[in-house]
């Protein structure tokens, strides 16, 4: 009876897993079909040769190398910037005493309730004023900080005994030295997790880069992929090949660092 129950659990989970995985499988399968053929499900032939050249064609049809470069640049700088600004602020909120500390912290947390879509409009206008539309600055600068990251890091920084801080200060470390020599190395797993979450968000961001760029030179991968669809029309094999370009780096990152991502989400959402 017990074995049967366990077996049932595995069966259900496996069914769900197939449903989760199916789109990814199709994505790869279609990307290897002869280009520009319309496929019908029943006649879909496993035996047909795999058309790896679709990837080459897709890569050539649009400046994907440029898109990759842009996505990498934007993801790396925004993630780095977010971590830097959040680490500093999290330190202040966890270790320093100053006027208005509680009020300021609450105010910042309240700000996280504002939907980014609302801010899009005035931000776009600001960037127009700054002549930042169609620049890397527009893609990067507004995202150089994250209150969510600050909050998660602050929670982590608060878990260390105060004596550690005092010991370091008495041993001649300044606040700055304590932060970078002790607190940051100690919290490397949390920082990694928060950074990864931000990186995923940044890599996949769509609406903002769509709006603030319109030259191919500045497109990030998701925007580039979207514009690619209008070029390919119904040529699904090519489109799916391009989709694989976009998806694969993050999948690899995720599979490699899954442990941190899971920990990061759990920590940020349930320890508040």
């Amino acid at each position: 009876m017990k074995k049967l129950l366990i077996g049932g659990r595995y069966l259900l989970l496996a069914l769900g897993a197939v449903a989760m995985l199916l789109p990814f499988v199709w994505m790869v399968v279609i990307s290897l079909q002869p280009a520009a053929t319309t496929l019908t499900l029943p006649t879909f032939a496993w035996s047909s040769a795999l058309h790896w050249e679709n990837y080459r064609h897709a890569w050539r049809l649009a400046p994907f190398a440029q898109y990759y470069g842009n996505s990498l640049l934007v993801t790396a700088t925004t993630t780095g910037g977010q971590l830097f600004t959040s680490i500093l602020a999290a330190f202040a909120f966890s270790h320093l005493h100053f006027y208005g500390r509680r009020l300021l912290f609450r105010g910042l947390i309240a700000l996280t309730m504002i939907p980014g879509e609302l801010l899009l409009i005035p931000n776009f206008i600001t960037l127009t004023h700054l002549h930042w539309i169609n620049t890397y600055a527009a893609l990067i600068v507004p995202w150089l900080t994250s209150i969510f990251a600050m909050f998660a890091l602050r929670q982590a920084f608060l878990t260390h005994p105060q004596s550690l801080y005092y010991a370091a200060r008495l041993e001649g470390a300044s606040d700055w030295q304590y932060l970078w020599h002790v607190l940051v190395p100690l919290n490397r797993p949390v920082i990694t997790a928060v950074g990864l979450l931000q990186a995923i968000g940044s890599w996949n961001a769509f609406m903002w880069p769509l709006i603030v760029t319109n030259s191919p030179r500045l497109r990030t991968l998701p925007v580039g992929l979207m514009t690619f669809t209008s070029q390919t029309g119904t040529n699904y094999p090519l489109l799916m090949a391009a989709t694989v370009f976009v998806v694969v780096p993050l999948l690899i990152l995720y599979l490699a660092l899954q442990k941190y991502i899971v920990a990061g989400i759990t920590r940020a959402n349930l320890k508040g």
Partner: protein, 299 residues
Amino acid sequence: MLNPKPSLKTTLHALAYLAPLLIITVLFTVWPLLSAVRLSLATRSNFYTGRVTAYGWANFGALWHDPDFHRAVQHTLLFTLGVVPASVLLALGVALLLNRLPHCARFFQTLYFLPFVTSTVAVSLVWGWLFQADHGVVNGLIHTNIDWLNDPHYSLLALILLCLWQSLGFNILLFLAGLNHIDDRYLLVAQLNGATAWQRFWHVTWPLLTPTVILITVNALITNFKVFDQVYALFHGSAGPANADLTLTYYLYQKFYIENQTGLAAASGLVLFGLVLLITGLAGTYFHHWTRWLRKDAR
């Protein structure tokens, strides 16, 4: 922390650490918020300079009378209702199945979470193919002949299915964390008292899990209120057949980016904000009562 007395000196010192975050937050969150309020109240303004020459409630009035806006609100609510309860329940079910699974729990978790790390645009394009009328996989699997993406009766459902599939993993993860939080000893005691598996779930796990459920539900509500990327990618830069998938955020995008109606767009953004605040407020109150009740009970 010791020496808890702040002084001008400590405040300036702390400000140095806070400055980068504060400057960017003020520039790109606080100021735009005020600015959005101003824009929404502007009845005459220059799109490029942002200069406002007249104020009034006209934008909100226009929204009130705009059938497109009504449609957007209606679609957003329908869509949210379609995604959130199903996603929360399914996620809870999967989390319960995964919880304390002897083998492969990690493996399954990885699979379920895959959609979350994948670009929404990419995923939506794949689903666009799956939803094809003639040789789409979805029709093939359930033996129908529905034109998911071009039939206004089904296109919202297509969007719901996509978002459900995509959001499941994240919610499962949160539920697993919540389940891990529950002290095993409660369940052990219940088992010793002769409670059946169902009784244990209903009388022990569920009440202790309620805060997590609220958290996940609220989070899902807010996320889904703001759905945009999926619509844009699934319907190739349109709001679906006959605007059948026009959501609030898509409306905002359309008014702002396509039609240059800044005031209307800002006003619709504020309505969205209002909805988010309402949900958060309600949930916060409920959450507060519930956790307080739990704590009282534990005493």
